[in-house]
C-alpha cells in the first residue's frame, strides 16, 4: 500500500509532499523522544513520554491524512481534529509537568485540558457542521473556540503557568516555558487564521484549501516537534544539573 501511494504522488503535489514529510518527521521525533527517555532523570521521563506520544499520535494521523488526501483530493478536516483533540490537551499536560515541581496543581491541569478541548470541539463544530457556509455559525463557534485559546494564552504568558515558572527557581524551566508560550502565541495562531479562511469566515477566499493544508502541515510539524524539543532541552539541562550535584 505504502509503495503504491508513494508511486502515485505527483512531483508538484506539495500537499501530499508535506503530508508525507510530516508523517516521517513526527515518527522520527517519536522514536527520538522515546529513546532519549533513558538520558533524563526519573522526574523528567514522563515529560518525554508525553512529547513522544504527541508526535506519535500525529504520525499515525498524518499517515491516514496523506492517504485520504491522495484518494479524495479533499482536506482531511475530520482526521485533523481527531489529531488535535488528542495532541493539544497533551501539550497542555506538558505545561503542568514542567511546573509541577514549582507547585502546579491538578486543578491547573484540568483547567488547561478543558480549555484546549473546548477550543477544539467548538472549532470542529464551527468548521465541520457549517455545510451552507453560514457566517453567523462560523463566527459564533469561532468566538467560543477563541475563548479557550485566550484562556491558555493568558495562563502561559501572564497567568498561573507563567507565575509557577517564575517561582520554579530554575532559569531553564522559566526560559523553556517562555519558549513554549511563544509556540502557543505564534505557532498556534495559524489555526484561528485557518479557521477564518474557511467558508463563512472573514478571510474566506484568501487561501486555497490546498495552500491551507500545506501551512497546517508545516505548522503542525513545527508546533509538535518543536514543542517536544524544548521540553527535551529542559529535561536534559535539569537532569545534568541534578547529576552535577
Amino acid at each position: 500500500m505504502l509503495l503504491n501511494v508513494v508511486q502515485s504522488i505527483a512531483p508538484d503535489n506539495y500537499v501530499a509532499f508535506t503530508f508525507f514529510i510530516g508523517y516521517i518527521a513526527m515518527l522520527a521525533a517519536s522514536v527520538f523522544f522515546f529513546v532519549e527517555r533513558n538520558s533524563v532523570s526519573d522526574k523528567w521521563k514522563m515529560s518525554l513520554l508525553v512529547s513522544g506520544l504527541i508526535t506519535g499520535i500525529a504520525a499515525v494521523h498524518y499517515y491516514y491524512m496523506r492517504d485520504y488526501n491522495l484518494v479524495t483530493g479533499d482536506s482531511p478536516t475530520f482526521f485533523r481534529y481527531v489529531d488535535w483533540i488528542l495532541t493539544v490537551p497533551l501539550m497542555c499536560v506538558e505545561f503542568y509537568l514542567l511546573t509541577r515541581l514549582a507547585g502546579a496543581t491538578k486543578s491547573l491541569l484540568w483547567k488547561l485540558i478543558f480549555a484546549s478541548t473546548w477550543m477544539l470541539v467548538c472549532g470542529y463544530i464551527g468548521e465541520a457542521f457549517n455545510v451552507d457556509g453560514s457566517t453567523s455559525h462560523s463566527v459564533t463557534w469561532g468566538v467560543l473556540s477563541t475563548l479557550g485559546y485566550l484562556y491558555i494564552l493568558h495562563s502561559v504568558w501572564m497567568g498561573e503557568v507563567a507565575g509557577l515558572a517564575d517561582s520554579s527557581g530554575s532559569e531553564v524551566v522559566k526560559k523553556g516555558v517562555r519558549y513554549l508560550a511563544w509556540f502557543v502565541l505564534v505557532g498556534w495562531a495559524i489555526y484561528p487564521v485557518g479557521y477564518m479562511c474557511m467558508d463563512g469566515g472573514w478571510l474566506n477566499g484568501i487561501f486555497e484549501a490546498s495552500t491551507l493544508d500545506i501551512w497546517y502541515n508545516i505548522a503542525d510539524a513545527i508546533n509538535k516537534i518543536g514543542f517536544g524539543l524544548v521540553v527535551y532541552t529542559i529535561a536534559i539541562s535539569e537532569s545534568n544539573k541534578e547529576l552535577a550535584k
Binding site: T135, V139, G142, V143, L150, W157, M158, A181, L185, G200
Partner: protein
C-alpha cells in the same frame, strides 16, 4: 507578550468577528467606539502631567499652567500660520513621543537612543499611513480645510519613509540586541509587537487601527507606568485615588472638546470638525510629550 499586547490581541479577535459578521463597521460607529475608548483611557493618560512634573522639579501651579498653556497657544498660532507645517510637526512630535513611551523602560544606553525613539514612532505612523493611504486621502478630502494635508501623500515620499523607517527600526533592534542593550526576550517581544501593528493596520480601517494602538499599546501602558511611579512617590496609591487624580483634567479636556465641537458644528468657528480634532490632539501632545520626556529620564 505583556498584558497590554494581550488586551490588544483580544480586541483584534473581537473586531475580526464583528467584521466577519458585518463586512464593515460604519464610520460613525467607528468614531463613537474610538471616542469612547479614547475618553476612558486616552485622555486620562495625559491628565496628570502636572503631578508627574511637580513630583520631579519644584514648580508652582501658576508657573506650570502658564508654561503648559503658552505651549498650547503657541502651537495654535502656528496652525493658523501654516497648517501643513504644523501637521508635519505634529507627526514628528507624536512619532518621537510614541517611540519614547515604547522603548524608554529598556534602559538603552546608546547615544543615539533619541534617534531610535523617533525611528520607532516614524515606522509606526508611516505604517498606519502606508496601509490606509486611500482611506486617509478620502478622509482629508471631506473638508476644504483639510485637503492640503493630503500633501503628505504627494510623490509617494511617505512610502519611502515607510520602507526606510521599518528597515531602520529592525536594524536598530538587532544592533541593540547584539550590543546586549536589550534582552533577547525584549527583542522578540518588540518584533512581535511590530508584526501585530502591521497586521492590524493592514486589516482594519485607519480610525480603528490608530485607536487600537493609541489606547491599548500606548495610553494603558503610560497609565500603568504613571501609576507605578506615583505608587512609589505616595508610598501607597490605590486605584481609586489614582482615578481621582486623573479626573479633573480629563473632565476639563472633555469640556473643552465638547465646546469646540459645538462651535464647529454650529459654524460659530469656521474650522471643520476633522481639522479641529487634529489641532486639538496636536496642541495637547506637544506639552504632554515634553513632560513625558522629563518623566522618562527617571527610567535611566
Amino acid at each position: 507578550m505583556n498584558k497590554f499586547s494581550f488586551l490588544y490581541l483580544i480586541t483584534c479577535y473581537f473586531l475580526a468577528s464583528i467584521f466577519t459578521l458585518n463586512n464593515h463597521i460604519d464610520i460613525s460607529h467607528q468614531i463613537i467606539g474610538s471616542l469612547f475608548l479614547i475618553t476612558i483611557f486616552g485622555i486620562p493618560h495625559g491628565a496628570i502631567d502636572n503631578i508627574i512634573l511637580k513630583s520631579d522639579i519644584k514648580i508652582s501651579n501658576l508657573r506650570f499652567y502658564s508654561l503648559y498653556i503658552s505651549c498650547i497657544l503657541l502651537y495654535i498660532i502656528t496652525w493658523f500660520v501654516s497648517p501643513v507645517i504644523s501637521f508635519y510637526l505634529f507627526l514628528i512630535i507624536s512619532s518621537y513621543h510614541f517611540g519614547e513611551s515604547q522603548l524608554a523602560n529598556y534602559k538603552i544606553s546608546n547615544n543615539n537612543k533619541k534617534l531610535i525613539y523617533l525611528i520607532w514612532g516614524t515606522a509606526l505612523m508611516s505604517t498606519l499611513f502606508y496601509y490606509n493611504e486611500i482611506e486617509l486621502i478620502n478622509l482629508f478630502s471631506l473638508f476644504e480645510d483639510t485637503e492640503n494635508l493630503n500633501s503628505l501623500f504627494y510623490n509617494n515620499y511617505f512610502k519611502i519613509v515607510f520602507y526606510v523607517s521599518n528597515i531602520l527600526i529592525f536594524m536598530s533592534l538587532i544592533f541593540l540586541q547584539l550590543k546586549n542593550q536589550i534582552k533577547a526576550s525584549v527583542f522578540r517581544n518588540e518584533l512581535f509587537q511590530l508584526f501585530l501593528l502591521h497586521l492590524t493596520f493592514y486589516l482594519f480601517p485607519v480610525i480603528i487601527s490608530f485607536t487600537l494602538y493609541f489606547v491599548f499599546l500606548h495610553s494603558l501602558k503610560v497609565l500603568s507606568q504613571e501609576f507605578n511611579y506615583l505608587n512609589i512617590i505616595y508610598k501607597k496609591l490605590s486605584i481609586s485615588k489614582f482615578i481621582i487624580l486623573l479626573t479633573p483634567h480629563t473632565l476639563l479636556s472633555l469640556a473643552f472638546l465638547a465646546i469646540f465641537i459645538y462651535l464647529s458644528q454650529n459654524n460659530i468657528i469656521n474650522i471643520s470638525i476633522l481639522l479641529l480634532t487634529i489641532i486639538g490632539i496636536s496642541v495637547i501632545t506637544l506639552p504632554h510629550s515634553i513632560v513625558m520626556t522629563k518623566f522618562y529620564e527617571k527610567f535611566k
